[in-house]
Symmetry: C3
Subunit: 631 residues, 3 copies
């Protein structure tokens, strides 16, 4: 695999006369890819049924003529204003029940079949015209961004009722599955079921979780419609650019339809409003040291190995609470962190800063006046570093971590304690693994084999799927479950017999408790348990207990279970000991220093704003060290 | 009076085959009472007019057959889904004007006459069928819980207009009473009057208070309809289970219709979101040491001596921000605190944890798999301790505290400073009394005699009622009024002459000021004044002044007045000195230790998580000491 | 010019028999002015077309008979209830799209032509009847108070579309001006354009800013209608009483229509919810030392020299989060601070505290029972001090500060970092000037000459207007621009060439960054840069840089530019050095001490709660020192 670079470009923003110069400069910079088109519907179809492809024909001519490969986006994230006249009920509704108005983007309801089909038809038209002229496709843009997966509209309610009928068959099945006998919530027919918002107190959690599953399925169906329309005319690989920490739909399921997974990486935008925990003050101009890495590993799983960064931050953005400038060197570091995790391509968003509208304060590689912006030189440096690089091959990591979208929804529906969040729990353990120098593969919840993994973590999983249960049973490596794993059925009820029902480790949680941040439970060996503790009855060995005697870490052979949410110190201590016990070598990394191993190289990254040493070498802030690994 | 135990049970949640075993275990545990039925409407009347009483007949057979006494709840808190088709406008509306949807419970508007009558009819049908087979009734469930007293619906608006017409007679009377000449708010007829929400700036406080009185009256009328329907067929005593710190309706007025007042006591659920002030970190697993006691005393007043705890927490709940497990011993301690305050019965919620729906994480005495949960053994211990206990008799406390619902609404409407809350003020003074070892009776605002009370406190009362004014005039004991007592008319205006107009103590508040928590006014003798200070002109003795000279404590013979809100230290100092002056003996209790005297015994409770000494004896955490009192 | 006093009076609140005594006491107190009528519509026109002028005739007779001059308010801020029946769509809508209901005041939409004309007609009727009997007019009351400038109603949407058509002519012009090509936001006709609320993510900032300009224009038009109606019948000067820190409409534009600008000064009400920054705990009973001064200077600009305080706080108010009593002496001090800034009149709100309705806890000069309230004696003292005072003349200050309403809206639309606020930035620099003993003139953004100003500050200006650009070019004095000045077009886009485009100082901001409060950028010379830093390329001298080398202060001859938001220490240091360089004498004032120079006198005010020295003299808390200035 070659490592390649690219950028996002909006020919429609600029005079046509400027295109050739832009294309030449992109090529000179060493870019391979240019992504275009994904917000241009109003120009491609200025009025219903009146198409104007000419400008896009010419733009593609200019770009490919300069040697660039085009990624073409379908424009469904920004339906033109006139489509609203055709589908007045296509707007998504917020949780307060209000339509979300035209005037920005993503103002459509995934459950609206009319708009879904119109969007797929447009994708088909583009595929028909450009299918053999472009190198890759992108469907839509950042599904779910701006909280757009879940819509509380009448259209969604109608579709939800159909979805429920499909799933449960009879209303009695649904009433039984949800336990509607509680509080006389029994329904007589599917047409009585509302959306689970604006209820007097919390709705039935099974109702709420079903609605979240439905909402995710609507995204899956939506994307499938475009993929089918494109496939009919084009063999180019298809991708979607996922947004960081958007967890409202099942990315694995959407990604399964396409060849490549890509994601949009804004380290500094994420830091201040999406990263759980961590020392934000220390990384204001660098972004969190683990957050991008987590997503790189997640989308490598989504793409089954084929993944890109489709949008990479090259300077300040406009959408975080505060928007500092990256520390010099970070634009380069972020790119190499992606490549170290196996990215095929890193594309900067965007070529040139557009001086108008919502993102006018969002940097590009070029300033609005076409001068080089601060990130340009770092992009050039990465390009130079890539120029003579050999091909690289994918390699399996020694550690696996299961991440599951449905568990994310389940604990949002039923946190039981403020702050219980599947992503945050997985990310805390991921941080611990990274702080120990370990490279990680993230895997989906229906993973059927853990072959080759010395150590697998299964934290906060709603319920063990059958394939995963079998995989754990068959695993040679160490498997750590919990906390809050397999305590529920897939309907978000308490199972019989009570959970967790773990392969190879007998344990029952007889009571779960949560507690506020200021009241952790101490651990005699150091650190403590935050937020969550399940009280376990077990015949397994209790390796570690809280200071008041509650079992926290259980062990039986190669199976271990964690009964509480470890704080940073405890996570690092416990995970480290288990990893070493599993035969892995851990490294005690200082704050800010991070490692990622490819098959042949070890990359060391300094995210700190001060120099740090690794193995006798000093890394400046934003510094990168590349070491050969013994093959 | 016998002290008895019970539990809440939902036969409809479990296979009928399990009922006999459940009933036997309840009886074996020593329970007297089993409350059933209050959420079962959809099973009792699965379709309009189609009744299914058989299962309930059999459940009652089984339970009474095991020697248990049944408390039967009317099921109006959970109207079945089909009733919505009959009364589409029965849903309460939130303050934003949105209907509060079906899908949880309490989704009805107290002002909806159609549903009120349908619910009363159902209660009547149950009374007709079960009136002589059961031991007691409960109407509905937790009126006002989930903020359901006040509804901002068109139905409520219509009813409010009628209520206003009844109260004021003519629109001119209303305009005059409210001072509508201010800001040209004058109405021409009752049909023009809206609900006082969503106004541009605050509505007229008289308007807002009238609406709160109306909302309370709707609850009073609602309950009266069910009581009348039951009375027509049954002589069994009737009760309602009030919820802790629900103050949106007048509990005294509702309780006056029935024989027994009960309340639902969730010490740990309350701690984190309902208890004003206090050291939450110290009592995370015990609950606040005074909060339940306050309610015990309040509902003893409501029930005119006859009161129960209808729902007692036996383990973690699911609805607080965080839900820890009780400290071992607390399930027992909470029960004995209730008995020490005169409870006739303590019933645990609930027999067995239901593994589905909203409260699946809410503990019972049994786990979902029917094993004994952590609280079971403590329940058994209480039962054993009660087995040979003699009958007890009610006794009047030496101290009285007036608590008034209308004052709660008044200061919510017009706090004048963030945090001014009638409950919080009364509770602060109650805490001070408890910390001094004093037992307290809570009394309603229309109390007509203070006979037998050495010391009476009247804090934050909107206005002195005529009976209370007469009672104060006639009182032999010490009476402390204020702060913010009798500064307003019942319409929430400033009276002429200006208040307070106190019997036996000449004082006028010429200006009131409020100040933020970080700026208390100091008191030379220790502690300070928080939030509220009325500037008093008086001919009475000024016992204490702020450091800048404002009178804080006035005294004339047996009458005293407090002009500001004392902080914890000042409250304890001032209340202690007055109590001793009134001839009472105070005890300087350490944090966490609490006393309650019955007629014959002194109970000492340790709420701290460490051992504490009392009178030479050491109490473990959750420990109880019982001392005989000289008779 | 004479310095005069007055009060606000509501004869309709009191029995007619009390009027003569009230009038006599006002005159005895030394008051010149009495403002009446502004909330009395429901009494003046109790039913549509049925007028009752008699009571107002008699009230004016009584007041003028006592020697008082009447300011008559038009009553449009409190339309009577019956007008709603005539114009059911006249209610403003909040940003959630809900009508803002009747029941308080200001419940009208400025864009509603029907109510605007009805209100103007009422003003005309009053002018016809009283035009030659009264001394001055006030239109409406506190435009924009309670967030009432911007309405999100259908009526506003219709008017906005017309306004846009007038401004842009063609939809293509609008699309181009807003950059609607971005995200396919292109409109086909003006009828498609909605209000910029409830969009999925932020709306186009140009769209949002246009809507804010429109909303301001609606206020301008509204006031113009009343002014025209009054002018037709009366030659008395017209004023409006603006409210402190209401910045949602262009006060300069409204004020230009009238002879006098007045404002309502509530120092303690403002402190806790409107004053940006400052030490609130130190000034709880005094109000912020600079906030009123800023407004005095602002309204002097609005009134082109003629301005009053129409409502002055005489005691506690009711509307702040907490409402303390003023420190003794502050009622006097606030009055003299106003006079020192050139006020023609100071009027207290209000004569007597009305014991009912919304403001019953708002003090007056008299208590509800007609006794003198705490502020009365201080008012009398000011009256005595004024009695023999000579006439005073206006004088230009040595320092000018540009304040611009459109810039306020622009940065609200596009803060780029939480907390970026034009008012707060201007006020921070104003504070620095005040702390250095400098007197300031505030000037509008279209100021055409800076003649006579030694030092002019132009902070945070959206874009330099043509007149101001010319004025800066021609200025003899020192001119300091920035931060964030002239970085945008008036449409809120990035200009070509990129800004700032400053007369006489070559500088380009190539990137702007924002950062949170906990991460300021240090300055080697002391203090730091908060929140905002523009990265400047310049050929000018860089006087000061951040510790990491970014230019912060540029200088070229008499032109300087500040690239970041200085913290308190840096602002005082930098502004002080520049002021001295401009030939001004600065005074290093301690916290709490403030100076204002008139043409002939220096006033020194002690806002601290402890004594402070100035030039060898000790000022008690609330103390005032008057020193003659050399002429």
């Amino acid at each position: 695999m070659k490592r390649t670079l690219g950028t996002c470009y909006y020919p429609e923003h600029w005079p046509e006369a400027q295109w050739p110069e832009d294309a030449r400069r992109m090529a000179d910079l060493g870019l391979t890819w240019v992504r275009i088109g994904e917000f241009a519907w109003s120009l491609l179809e200025p009025a219903p049924g009146r198409y104007d492809w000419d400008w896009l024909d010419r733009a593609i001519d200019v770009l490919t003529g300069a040697g660039l490969s085009v990624v073409l986006g379908t424009p469904s994230a920004t339906p033109p204003r006139w489509i609203l006249d055709r589908f007045p009920d296509m707007l998504a509704h917020d949780a307060e029940g209000r339509p979300r108005k035209f005037g920005s983007r993503r103002h459509y309801d995934f459950a609206h079949a009319g708009y879904r089909d119109a969007a797929a038809r447009m994708a088909g038209l583009m595929a028909e015209r450009y299918g053999d002229r472009i190198a890759a496709w992108q469907t839509d843009n950042e599904y779910g961004c701006h909280d757009t997966t879940v819509s509380w509209s009448p259209v969604a309610q109608d579709a939800f009722r159909i979805w429920l009928k499909d799933k449960y068959g009879t209303i009695t099945n649904l009433n039984d599955a949800w336990g509607n006998i509680f509080w006389s919530m029994t329904y007589d027919d599917f047409g009585q079921i509302g959306l689970p918002n604006l209820t007097v107190t919390e709705p039935n959690p099974s109702h709420a979780l079903a609605f979240r599953r439905f909402a995710s399925d609507m995204v899956v169906d939506w994307n499938a419609a475009q993929v089918a329309a494109i496939r009919a005319h084009s063999d180019a690989p298809i991708s979607h650019n996922y947004m960081g920490r958007v967890t409202d739909f099942d990315h694995y399921a959407v990604a399964r339809q396409m060849e490549i997974a890509t994601w949009d990486s804004y380290p500094m935008g994420f830091l201040l409003d999406r990263v759980p925990g961590g020392d934000k003050a220390a990384y204001l101009r660098q972004g969190d040291p683990d957050f991008q890495a987590f997503h790189h590993d997640l989308y490598r799983a989504c793409g089954a190995g084929r993944w890109w960064v489709m949008e990479q931050q090259p300077g300040p953005v406009n959408w975080a609470p505060w928007n500092p400038a990256p520390l010099p060197g970070m634009v380069r570091l972020w790119s190499w962190e992606a490549f170290a995790h196996g990215a095929e391509a890193v594309c900067w968003f965007r070529w040139r800063q557009f001086p108008q509208a919502q993102e006018q304060q969002h940097a590009g590689l070029l300033r609005p006046d076409s001068s080089e912006a601060a990130g340009f030189a770092e992009a050039a440096q990465v390009a130079a570093e890539l120029r003579d690089a050999p091909d690289v091959a994918a390699v399996q990591a020694p550690v696996a971590l299961i991440f599951d979208y449905a568990s994310q929804w389940a604990w949002e529906v039923q946190p039981q304690g403020v702050g219980f969040d599947h992503f945050a729990l997985c990310f805390d353990l991921y941080r611990a693994l990274r702080s120990l120098g370990l490279s990680v593969d993230i895997l989906p919840p229906d993973t059927a084999s853990l072959g080759g993994y010395a150590f697998t973590l299964v934290p906060g999983l709603l319920s063990l799927t059958d394939p995963l249960r079998a995989a754990i049973e068959a695993a040679d490596g160490l498997v750590l479950t919990g906390p809050r794993t397999d305590l529920k059925t897939s309907e978000l009820s308490i199972p019989t017999p009570m959970g967790p029902n773990l392969p190879g480790l007998a344990a029952t949680s007889v009571m779960e408790e949560t507690f506020p941040p200021e009241a952790p439970r101490g651990l005699p060996a150091g650190g403590g348990i935050d937020l969550w503790l399940e009280h376990i009855e077990t015949t397994a060995e209790v390796v570690e207990r809280t200071t008041d005697g509650a079992p926290v870490l259980l062990r039986h052979g190669k199976r271990a279970h964690l009964a509480g949410w470890p704080d940073k110190m405890a996570a690092r201590r416990i995970i480290g000991a288990l990893a070493r016990d599993a035969g892995l070598t851990t490294v005690d990394l200082p704050e800010g220093l991070r490692i990622r191993d490819t098959g042949t190289e070890r990359f060391v990254f300094n995210y700190a704003s001060h120099p740090l040493d690794y193995d006798g070498k000093t890394l400046d802030p934003a510094g990168i060290l590349r070491l050969s690994l013994p093959s």
